[in-house]
């Protein structure tokens, strides 16, 4: 199967190189993307084969001296992530072909094609390379390629600003990751993951905790957990929409992959408080992420904040995995891990879908601002159906896929009620309730997103004249919408495959008592069972019966009339609720978090009733920006100003610095 992996790599490399060979912009566009599609399809094929058979494969190329071989290992965990990346990259790339046609500029398209292919390739390699050095290299390529994709529209100041924030944050993250690898390699005496795993049991506790924090901060930055999230809502919306789909759908998941790999295979025994720390960060990310998403008017920024929420949900599952590992309940741990991985897959499908939907809206109306949209369901019917599917799935409503994985995460949280630790018993139900709260807020958020953008009357000329996107873009969205349903209906089968993945990481000698899954049901005794298929049938059956009954017995006459306007001449689009208005109750209830400010300025000419102008401004504050990052930035500026005193620009002074340093070192060493 190695040749399939090579094939995939070759296609991505070809896709990256072709833009430099080909001449015409249209041709470049077609071929780089076809190459990426081919790569993605190959990835889907071999990763599925590995997942179904449970048999991985590996390959080692001789690498640089000192750092060891470049070993690529596709074990079930890697295969799962390769599947997720390849699977999402196919529709995203299909979408891209027509999406970027509007950028006629050949240089632009070549630039995009090069970094796009490189980006996907780096993600694939990150999740299957088993050597710390090359991992960092690929990680860096992934980060840089995505940086260039973020600043694709570099003439916009927001894109450049987002790019800088992203670049800084991702490198802070990389520094911590490098530190953690350095600590591990120092202990294991090699850069190979296999040696990390072998030496895991002998790690001293202090070193282990140091590794925990560096790993958490390093990968947490990429995952976008609060409070390390600030780059995410800036960077993701600035990239072209199909890239946003990949960044939100899979790039941040590579951090989840790394967390799983580190904590379940490199560090041996896990202390309980690690899980507690991860659970706390996770619930903060989940609830605050969605609360911030609710305040957004820009469709893509809203989706980016909701990615923070979903990372929180994923980490809730993973935190429970660690708790169960620490309390020596491997069976429950593997259930929690399955739930985590399933949510990773599901989030990739519906978040990818929603970003593509937002891209479709953006390409036809040239605005992502909800206040200027509306009524698109009649003008872009297929996009609306797909976006709605994504919205239902991300709100975790049955019978779509988001619900199944969320149900499993609920189960893992609640199954801790028999834990020996009182604190775990007390807090897990609260976490579960907060998870439900985040879910309810997500539903609010996506009612707002879909309702304001797609329903009602158009709020601007662009929205009024929008038309449906081209068939290939519709196909791309349809494919993902279908997968939202498909993953739900196939849930028991997917769970059985994911069990193989968790089996390689957690050795559970006994299966969870009363946890079973067959073709129809996922069952956890004491808890209940779910079968999305049965729910799907029940719901659609009930709908059909009702429909038939009404068609036969009820009056079928329908009179069309304007919406009721309280007897006034009529409604205008401006009388509708706005996105800002829609989230007003939430803004008011959680005002301690948002600290909203509003300013109304009225101008009049002498008479109070004859107003000539009105200005209204309303703002919410992001407390993390205000309280953590702004003071931090100020601090940095202050320190660098002080450091400037040392730098006079005179070479003699610098030489004397070197001289003094040498003397100090000499004195120090001679004393030893």
């Amino acid at each position: 199967m190695e040749f399939l992996l090579f094939g995939q790599i070759v296609f991505y490399l070809a896709g990256a190189i072709l833009p430099f060979i080909l001449k015409d912009g249209g041709v470049i566009n077609r071929w780089t993307h076809i190459s990426a599609i081919a790569g993605g399809l190959i990835g889907v094929v071999y990763s599925l084969a590995v997942l179904v058979t449970g048999q991985g494969f590996s390959f080692a190329a001789p690498g640089l001296p000192f750092v060891g071989n470049l070993s690529l290992v596709v074990d079930p965990l890697s295969a799962f992530f390769i599947f997720v990346i390849s699977f999402l990259s196919v529709p995203a790339t299909i979408f891209a072909i027509r999406y970027i046609q509007e950028f006629q500029d050949k240089k632009r398209i070549a630039f995009l094609g090069f970094f796009y292919n490189l980006f996907i390739l780096a993600m694939i390699l990150v999740v299957c390379v088993h050597n710390a050095f090359y991992f960092l290299v690929f990680w860096e390529i992934m980060s840089l390629a995505s940086y260039f994709l973020v600043v694709f529209e570099h003439e916009k100041i927001q894109a450049r600003r987002a790019g800088i924030i992203y670049l800084v944050m991702t490198h802070i993250g990389t520094a911590f990751i490098a530190a953690s690898f350095w600590l591990l390699a120092g202990h294991a005496g090699s850069f190979a993951f296999a040696d990390f795993h072998l030496q895991a049991a002998t790690l001293p506790p202090a070193l282990k905790n140091a590794i925990f924090w560096t790993v958490l901060i390093g990968f947490g930055t990429k995952a976008g957990i609060i409070p390390l999230h600030i780059w995410l809502p800036e960077a993701h919306p600035q990239a072209p929409s199909h890239v946003s789909a990949l960044m939100s759908g899979v790039m941040i998941k590579t951090a989840v992959y790394a967390l799983i790999r580190f904590f379940l295979s490199f560090v041996g025994e896990v202390p309980l408080w690690w899980g507690v720390v991860i659970l706390s960060l996770a619930i903060i990310s989940a609830v605050l992420g969605i609360l911030y998403a609710l305040m957004e008017r820009d469709l893509k920024r809203l989706l980016a904040f909701s990615s923070i929420e979903n990372i929180g949900i994923i980490l809730l599952g993973f935190g429970m995995t660690l708790i169960f590992v620490a309390t020596d309940k491997p069976a429950y741990a593997s259930f929690a891990l399955i739930a985590t991985l399933f949510h990773v897959l599901n989030h990739a499908s519906f978040k990818g879908l929603l970003f593509l939907g937002a891209g479709a809206v953006l390409s036809k109306t040239h605005t992502g601002n909800a206040e200027e949209l509306g009524g698109l369901i009649k003008r872009m019917p297929w996009t609306a159906v797909c976006f709605l599917t994504g919205a239902v799935a991300i709100s975790a409503l049955p019978p779509l896929n988001g619900f199944v994985s969320k149900w499993m995460i609920f189960c893992s949280l609640l199954s801790a009620h028999q834990s020996q630790e009182l604190a775990v018993r007390f807090f897990t139900p609260i976490l579960a309730a907060l998870l439900g709260f985040a879910g309810a807020l997500a539903a609010t958020c996506f009612v707002k997103a879909f309702g304001i953008c797609f329903l009602g009357e158009p709020r601007s000329e662009q929205a009024r004249h929008a038309v449906e996107v081209s068939p290939s873009m519709q196909w791309a969205m349809g494919l993902l919408a279908g997968s939202c349903l498909g993953f739900a209906l196939l849930a028991p089968w997917i769970v059985s495959i994911l069990q193989k993945v968790s089996g390689t990481l957690i050795e559970a000698d006994t299966p969870i008592p009363n946890f079973t899954f067959n073709g129809l049901f996922i069952t956890l005794a004491d808890f209940g069972q779910i079968s999305p298929l049965v729910f799907g049938w029940m719901l659609s059956g009930a709908i059909l019966i009702l429909f038939a009954a009404l068609a036969i017995f009820a009056n079928r006459k329908v009179m069309l009339a304007p919406s009721w306007a309280c007897g006034l001449p009529g409604l205008t689009a401006r009388m509708q609720y706005t996105a800002t208005g829609y989230s007003k109750p939430i803004r008011r209830i959680f005002s301690f978090l948002y600290q909203p400010t509003r300013q109304v300025e009225l101008e009049d000419e002498g008479h109070e009733i004859l107003r000539t102008a009105q200005r209204f401004e309303s703002k919410t504050t992001h407390v993390f920006d205000e309280w953590i990052y702004r003071p931090l930035a100020k601090c940095m500026l202050f320190v660098s100003k002080k450091a400037k005193l040392m730098q006079t620009g005179h070479i003699q002074l610098y030489l004397s610095y070197i001289f003094i340093t040498l003397i100090v070192l000499l004195v120090y060493w001679s004393r030893l």
């Binding site: 007390f426 579960a432 309730a433 709260f437 309810a440 707002k448 729910f535 709908i543 009702l546 989230s583």
Partner: protein, 314 residues
């Protein structure tokens, strides 16, 4: 087969009884205002008369407007099949639990809130925005109250919690569950659009939540929505009845037991309906932004309930 028929019967009882609970509360309110109120036949006639009527649909409305009543009622039907009524088992008990219950209600609400935005009116937006914001808060308290019961009973399905409590003495059950009962009662008032959260009998824009969302509906769609609302109300009351007063539930399949079970169920339901009606008569509607305080009370009750379970149960 008998089992299937029995389960079907209990589901049918639930959906058919739903309007009469609304009637009971209406009647109570009328009595408190020195009116006579509608007869029992009237509430059913009110629903049925809507079906032969011609519908008026907004020109702005899209297909969301047309599918919403079906999704709402269908999801409410499935929810009704999840709840134990006369029996410890329920029709869909084989595939349901607390979370499915909450999220199926969420599905109906999701489309209800969308359809409210679909007609492009201010009222719709207002109702939709308020409903979604308040129900998010309600969901937090509701889930936590359920989970605290689950922790106590070591089971997280309705049937599991119910059978656990049914096996214990009344004082013990009352002692351990009163806080959770308070929490779920508050959420019930909110979810069923009752005073002090919402006023089902008003069309004043400042007070409306539920009514504002369905303002554009008429004819058969309105009938479906109204009916599903009534079922939802009875579902919540049945939960309160069977989780917190879990006695007299039928567990051996004999006719006497069934008859007894129906009788006890009716007594419990109308007692709870009386409680809801009593609250409605004796309180004023809260200002919209005072309602979160009510949910805060529910949340605190649920947390205390959880703490209590852990302290006494260990």
């Amino acid at each position: 087969m008998t089992k299937f028929l029995l389960l079907f019967f209990q589901w049918l009882l639930l959906v058919a009884l739903a309007p009469s609970v609304s009637w009971f509360i209406k009647r109570m309110k009328a009595a408190s205002q020195n009116r006579r109120g509608p007869t029992l036949v009237q509430v059913y006639a009110d629903l049925i008369k809507l079906f032969p009527k011609e519908m008026v649909v907004s020109q702005t409305a899209s297909w969301i407007f047309h599918v919403m009543p079906f999704i709402l009622l269908a999801s409410t039907f499935v929810v009704a099949a999840l709840v134990p009524v006369l029996w410890t088992d329920s029709f869909l008990g084989f595939t349901g639990d607390i979370i499915v219950f909450v999220y199926l209600l969420g599905l109906g609400r999701f489309f209800l809130a969308l359809a409210a935005l679909d007609t492009g009116t201010t009222f719709g937006g207002m109702g939709s925005s308020r409903e979604m914001a308040l129900s998010s808060l309600g969901e937090l308290a509701l889930l936590l109250a359920f989970f605290s019961l689950g922790v106590y009973a070591h089971a997280f399905s309705f049937a599991g919690i119910m059978t656990h409590f049914a096996a214990h003495g009344p004082m013990e059950v009352l002692f351990f569950t009163n806080l959770a009962f308070g929490a779920i009662l508050i959420v019930t008032l909110a979810e069923t659009a009752r005073i002090p959260v919402d006023n089902p009998a008003t069309h004043l824009e400042l007070t409306m939540i539920h009514e504002a969302m369905i303002l554009e509906y008429s004819g058969k769609y309105l009938a479906l929505i109204e009916w599903s609302h009534q079922i939802k109300q009875l579902v919540f009351l049945s939960l309160l009845a069977n989780l917190f007063l879990p006695w007299g539930i039928f567990n051996v399949p004999t006719t006497t037991a069934l008859g007894w079970s129906v009788l006890v169920y009716l007594v419990k339901i109308f007692f709870l309906a009386f409680v809801v009606g009593w609250i409605e008569i004796h309180s004023a509607k809260l200002r919209l932004f005072r309602v979160p305080d009510l949910f805060a009370i529910a949340f605190v009750l649920a947390i205390l309930s959880l703490l209590g379970q852990l302290m006494f149960r260990g």
